[in-house]
Symmetry: C2
Subunit: 131 residues, 2 copies
DNA sequence: TTCATAACAGTAATCATTACTTTTATTATA
DNA sequence: TATAATAAAAGTAATGATTACTGTTATGAA
């Protein structure tokens, strides 16, 4: 039986209030302000648990550590090659590409993972490192 | 100035002859048959170098180690949730989704990374572990 | 042939993440 | 409210993938 945990609650609330898709280490550093003794293992365990419960989302962006997203609505991400930031994109789910991929393929396609990359608005105007 | 290396040549040829997108460890184990003293570091260094030169491609599939592909033609991959295998898909580049993603976005979209997942042909017919 | 150095083998270090061990916090029940 | 069972914690050790470091060897230009 799952029990309540103040640390888990704090991690969930922290993610719900942010839109920059932080890594476990970043979450750990911030949560430590409220729980100075929290351990990194606790952060990882709760991130894994919350992901399984579908209360947060884990996002892989090629290189570097995993990022976490408090927004569980289906949406795509944009990764800036310049500053490394991760932004949300306001486009709908592209179910049609699964159909496309399934043509001339004998397996069963359930879905896809995708993210876009390029230069984010801030880096376009202020240059790299401008953010 | 870049110098020739028999080990690099062997790694490149090995990848060119395979279509299962092996991980560095797998490549290491196979190349060791020809070069018993080759070190894992040499495999990683050459994989990184060949990727930079555009002679092979490095593919990230969410979890687990990076996979390498001797086919540098643009194409998409399918990852089987059942056996973990990675297959090539015969669909064209989907440039249109970059345009789609760029609408209502002020940054510059250069491209996207995407892969599909589900059950591969072999696992559909023989069940999980049947491959 | 000599020489400069790219690439090597072997090993140590790093980074992100997971696992283990003992203690603490939560919650159902007496 | 007190007791007891156990989920979850803190703290630490271990793992897996990858990168970096340190002499040594192989390549190729002079």
């Amino acid at each position: 039986m799952q029990k309540y945990s103040r640390q888990r609650e704090a991690i969930k609330n922290f993610l719900a209030a942010r839109y920059d898709h932080p890594a476990a280490e970043t979450i750990y550093m911030s949560i430590r302000e409220e729980f100075p003794n929290i351990s990194l293992g606790t952060v990882y365990r709760n991130l894994a648990l919350l992901s399984e419960l579908g209360e947060i989302r884990k996002i892989s962006i090629g290189s570097g550590p995993e990022r976490y997203d408090g927004n569980t609505e289906p949406h795509y991400h944009f990764v800036c090659k310049c500053c490394g930031g991760v932004l949300d994109l306001g486009i709908r789910e592209m179910e049609h590409i699964d159909i496309l991929a399934g043509q001339n393929f004998d397996g069963e396609i359930e879905g896809h993972f995708a993210y876009f990359y390029g230069t984010c608005p801030a880096c376009v105007t202020h240059g790299c490192g401008g953010k």
